[in-house]
Each structure stands twice: as C-alpha cells, then as structure tokens.
C-alpha cells in the first residue's frame, strides 16, 4: 500500500537563505500518525505548508497520497488538498458567517470526492456533519445557530476537526490545534480527534511544541534535532 506521505532528501530554503530543513527520508504509512516538533523557526509550519501544497519551491522528492507534488499544477494542488486533506489551524478555522453545519460541510461543497465519500456512507453532507459534530460532543442545539463567534475556542476547534474529517480525507494536517486550549480541553480534544481518525482511518500530521502530546503518536520528527545533526 502506498504510504500517505513519502519524502526523500526533501529540503526547503527561502530564496538566498540556507535550507530551513533537510529530511533524508520520511515515510508515513496510511492511517499512522506523525508529530513534528522543534524550536521556533525550525520550519515546522513551513514544512506543513509544503506538505499541504501551499508553499511551492521544495527540492527533493515529496509525494502525498501517491502524487508527486512537484509535478502538479497549482490547480491540481488545490484539488488534491480539497479531495485528500483536512487542515486544522491554531484557531480561527471557521467562517464566521456560516452556521456550524455549513462550516462542516464546506469540504463537500468544494470537492466531489469528499461528497461522494459521504454519500457512500449513505448520508447527505448535512447528516454527516451532524453525526460528526455529535461525536465531537457538541450540543445539537448549536448546530444551526448562525454565530460561530459565540462558541468557545474549544468548541470551535472541535467544529474545525469535524470539518477536517468529513468525507474521510486520507491526511489531516494540523498546526498546533490545541495551543489555545487549556490542558483539560486539550486532552479531551485529542482523545476525540484520535477516536475519529481511528474510525475513518485517516493519517494525522501534527505540528506541536507541547511535549505532553508526543506520546500516542506512531512517529516523531524533531526538526530541532535534525538541524543539530
């Protein structure tokens, strides 16, 4: 089975600067989880952007879900991201003017692959969204409320997780999704996320500087250690 992520001698440098990071080899089998750590400025977020196809200009080989990113047009990269990836930011993941359900179903409106994956489960996108939000332990009374801003950050992150997960994308990319949460909420969030990932078989690549989170990941990439090598 093709690994979800496959990188060989992958490096990235801003123009006129020394390489930010160099990875001799990175293979993430489908369904497994990777955490990326490292000090500030070690290129964690840039690496995530490169993996998401949002930052062009890497050298070496990098393929995501079997597709070599450097061979894809920017349009195809957008398509790949819409079809196969779910992204989670630190905060402000949601569009404030859509209700919870509309936010969660956005990937289905943008990608037919995700929509088809949902309908293969015999669900309409809104039903799938409701199911995911319920599993994320959000109160159904909130689902069709307009103002996302009235939710707590913990609740917003769970809505964002539901959106990343809808339609079973192969890869979830998360950039410190718990950094705005207190430890209790953080642990609850990670537990819920893991359960859902296990249920749909998606891989997770997460950037974090929180040592408490490293346990429970199959793989650990320390960019700080790479540089010091």
């Amino acid at each position: 089975m093709t690994p979800i992520l496959h990188a060989e001698s992958l490096s990235f440098a801003w123009p006129g600067q020394p390489p930010l990071f160099q990875l001799p080899e990175l293979i993430l089998p489908a369904g497994e989880h990777l955490v990326i750590t490292g000090p500030s400025g070690s290129g964690k977020t840039t690496l995530l952007n490169v993996l998401a196809g949002l930052q062009a200009g890497h050298s070496g080989h990098l393929s995501v879900a079997g597709e070599a990113l450097s061979t894809l047009s920017s349009r195809a990269l957008d398509r790949l991201r819409a079809d196969r990836m779910g992204l989670l930011f630190q905060q402000f993941n949601l569009l404030p003017y859509l209700n919870l359900i509309d936010n969660v179903t956005l990937p289905c409106t943008l990608s037919s692959v995700r929509r088809d994956a949902v309908s293969r489960q015999g669900l309409a996108p809104a039903e799938a969204a409701e199911r995911l939000l319920t599993r994320m332990q959000l109160d159904p009374a909130l689902f069709y409320r307009r103002r996302v801003a009235e939710l707590s950050i913990g609740q917003q992150q769970r809505v964002a997780a539901a959106r990343a997960l809808i339609g079973n994308p192969a890869l979830i990319l998360a950039d410190e999704p718990t950094s705005a949460l207190d430890p209790d909420n953080r642990d609850r969030f990670m537990a819920l996320l893991r359960d859902e990932l296990a249920a749909c078989g998606s891989s997770l690549v997460m950037v974090s500087h929180d040592p408490a989170l490293i346990r429970g990941f199959d793989h650990h990439l320390d960019l700080g250690a790479l540089i010091s090598c």
Binding site: N49, L80, F92, L110, D175
Partner: protein, 418 residues
C-alpha cells in the same frame, strides 16, 4: 454554492454592506438625477412651443424674434401691420394663426394680447394643449387669463380686477387705470414662459391705448371703459404670429416667401431650429451640470472603493480558510467579484427606485415653484450607460480584494498568516 457563500458573507457584514449600498444608491440617484434634469430641461426648452411651424414677426434677427415672441425677453423694434397679419392668416397654406401683441405689463409680468385661438392651437411639451386650473378663456373685452406663476405669486382668483401698465418695467408710472381687467381664468402650470404671462384680447389692448399716441396719453383725451366699448377696436398691428400650416411640407416654401417679401419686410423662423441655436448659447448651464454630475460620479465611486477596500482587511482570514480548504484562487476571486457585483447591482437598483420615487414626489413642487417640468421616466440610453459604468466600476472595485486574495494564494504561508 458560490452565490450562497457570497450572500452569507454580505449578510454577516451588514453594517458596512448597507453603508456601501446606500453610498452607491445615493450617488447613482444623484448622477442619474442630474442627468435627467439635464435631459429634461433641454427637452422642455426645446418644447417651449411645439406644433407651431413658423413664427413670423417684423424683420429682425431670428434669435431676437424668438426671444421676444416666445420668451418675452427684450422687445420688438417694429410690428406687423394688421393687414399684413390678415393676409398671412388667410393664406391657403395656413391652417391657423395665433397673433401676439406685446408691450404692456402688470407688476413685472408681461401682458400679451392674443385671441382665444391660443387655447385651441398652442402646443408645448409632448403635444400638450393649454388647460385651465380655474375659470375659462377670455370672455369679455376686459377679461384676462393668468399664467400659473402670475396667479400664485400675486394671489389672484377668477373675478379679481387688475390694472395693466404701459411698458415692460417692473414699476411703471403710466397705468391704464381707467380700464381695469377682470380675471376670467387661470392656466395650469406648463413650465413654459406662459406661466409668467397675462393673456388679454387684442381688442382689450387696443382699448386701453385709446387716446394714446407714441406711447404717452394725450392730455384731455381720457377715454372711459364704457366709451371704449363703443369705439372701433380693430387691432392695428401685432408683434408676432405663431403659424400652423396645413402641410408641413410647405414650411420652407412659405418661410422663404415671407423672408423675401419686399412690400412688408418680415422674418419667419422655424422654432425648432432657432431654439436649438439659442440652446447652444445658454447650454453653458447644462455643461456646468455635466461637470457637477461627473463630480458626483467620482465621489460616489471613491466612497464605494474606500468601503470595499476597508473590507479587504476584514476578509483575509476568510480567504485563508477557503484557500486551505482547496478553493482555487480563481474561485475565490469569482466569489469576491460576485459579491461586489451583487452589491453594486443592488445599489444601482435602489438608486433608480430612490430617484424615480423622489422625482414623482418632487414633480409638482418643482413645476409650481421653479417652472421645471421633470417627470419620472424609464432610464434613457445615457442613463443606462451610466448604470453600466457604475456596475463596471463596482466590479473593478471587487477586483482589488480578488487580486489581494490571489497574492495571498501565491505568497502562501496561509496556515499562520491571517
């Protein structure tokens, strides 16, 4: 999907969006309003008289003849003799004539001697006849019909008596006091110089001048109204004649014939042609309005741009989220353009409604107080062009945030850049 996102996004920024909408609506209304006033004031001017084929007066410059016969500005240097008028009126090609006799006034308003024919044949605007707000046409030797503005300004009602003065100044010492006139009717507003005119019969004018020679009363020759009624009041001359022909085809023929006549030197003019010439002179005001409307457009568009650009900053986060979800830059640009199109379209439509409603409401006061006949109308081609221009500018204004979104897309680093 795109349109639902655009709609929801607009709804979420209600305050800014409404402000933008009103800015666009107001500048559209202002611009199109100025445009409409320009077009209609020109049309009104050109339609001061309609249906009249020729205006005939004693030999004079055409513009001068037009000014004193229609606009009652300035005065005639000489008149047409009554026999000359009769010959013209009896010409086979002539369908009707309206004689006009000028020279007297009442408290600054011109008194025009004419016949009841004027109520029958005079047309202005879009082939409209004169109509009476109150009363009826001239029914007596000393009857007078008032223009709408004269009646309103001076507060006359049918049945009131007034005295006309010799000459055209605002204050005249020589008044025809012995023969007062009785108001028989008041005309509805027309937006033409007739609103500022008093109409009397030619014979009435003849009567008040009995016992006058060369513009002054002869001492000891006072004639009373009763005596006047007994005298021969056949008019001796008229100042100008409005002529309607049986066939329009003969207009140029008759005009040339009258202009070349040797026995009684006359000038015949085509009202439309001379009105056009005159408009070129006084059209400066119209061009000033054009400048005003251009300024209105600029201000409106600048306001719209400012509001739309202010929204760009608000929306970077939104663009970042959509990009992360795999929305292509093209689609995001489409979304933003769609929004500004919706906004501008809404503004333009609102502006049109505001304008027409405003004009409908202001129509009567405008006509009564300013003599401006401005009516609600379907957008003219020039106005449609202006609407198109506003829409295009609105779309261009939407292009700026779209370009911003594009830049964000290529500069990437989205995950931590908002």
């Amino acid at each position: 999907m795109l349109i639902r996102l655009a709609w929801n996004s607009l709804r979420s920024r209600r305050a800014t969006v409404l402000l933008t909408l009103f800015t666009i609506a107001l500048s559209t209304a202002l611009l199109l309003g100025v445009q409409q006033v320009r077009e209609q004031s020109r049309q009104n001017f050109m339609a001061t008289v309609s249906g009249t084929d020729l205006i005939v007066g004693a030999r004079a410059g055409p513009v001068q003849l037009l000014l004193y016969s229609l606009f009652h500005i300035g005065s005639a240097t000489s008149n047409i003799s009554w026999t000359g008028y009769q010959a013209l009126a009896e010409d086979d090609r002539v369908a009707w004539t309206i004689p006009l006799s000028l020279g007297d006034s009442h408290r600054g308003y011109r008194v025009v001697g004419t016949r009841n024919l004027i109520f029958e044949h005079y047309r202005y605007g879009d082939d409209r006849a004169l109509s009476f707000a109150q009363g009826e046409p001239l029914n007596d030797l000393f009857a007078v019909v008032l223009g709408a503005k004269v009646a309103r300004q001076l507060g006359y009602q049918p049945g009131d008596e007034l005295v006309i003065a010799h000459g055209t100044g605002n204050t005249s010492f020589m008044q025809h006091k012995q023969m007062p006139f009785t108001v028989s009717g008041i005309l509805a507003p027309t937006g033409t110089p007739l609103d500022r005119t008093l109409l009397v019969s030619l014979e009435g004018l003849e009567a008040v001048h009995l016992g006058w020679r060369a513009g002054v009363p002869l001492p000891g020759l006072q004639v009373s109204a009763e005596q006047a009624r007994q005298r021969d009041l056949a008019p001796r001359q008229v100042t100008a004649v409005l002529v309607g022909l049986k066939s329009r085809l003969q207009t140029f023929h008759l005009q040339r014939e009258l202009n070349n006549r040797r026995d009684a030197p006359l000038t015949a003019l085509l009202p439309g042609v001379v009105l056009q010439e005159l408009w070129q002179v006084i059209g400066v005001a119209e061009r000033a309005l054009l400048v005003v409307s251009a300024a209105a457009l600029l201000i409106g568009i600048a306001g719209m741009l400012a509001l739309m650009l202010a929204a760009v900053a608000q929306r970077q986060h939104e663009v970042a989220v959509l990009r992360a979800l795999g929305c292509s830059p093209l689609r995001i640009a489409g979304l933003l353009m769609l929004e500004s199109l919706l906004l501008t379209l809404g503004g333009v439509i609102l502006g049109l409604i505001v304008l027409q409603a405003g004009l409908a409401a202001a129509q009567t006061p405008l006509l009564e107080h300013f003599g401006l006949l401005i009516q609600p109308a379907l957008p003219s081609s020039e106005q449609l062009f202006l609407c198109g221009l506003i829409l295009t500018l609105g779309l261009l204004a939407g292009l700026l945030p779209s370009l911003q979104a594009w830049r964000l897309a290529t500069a990437s680093r989205l995950i931590r850049r908002y």
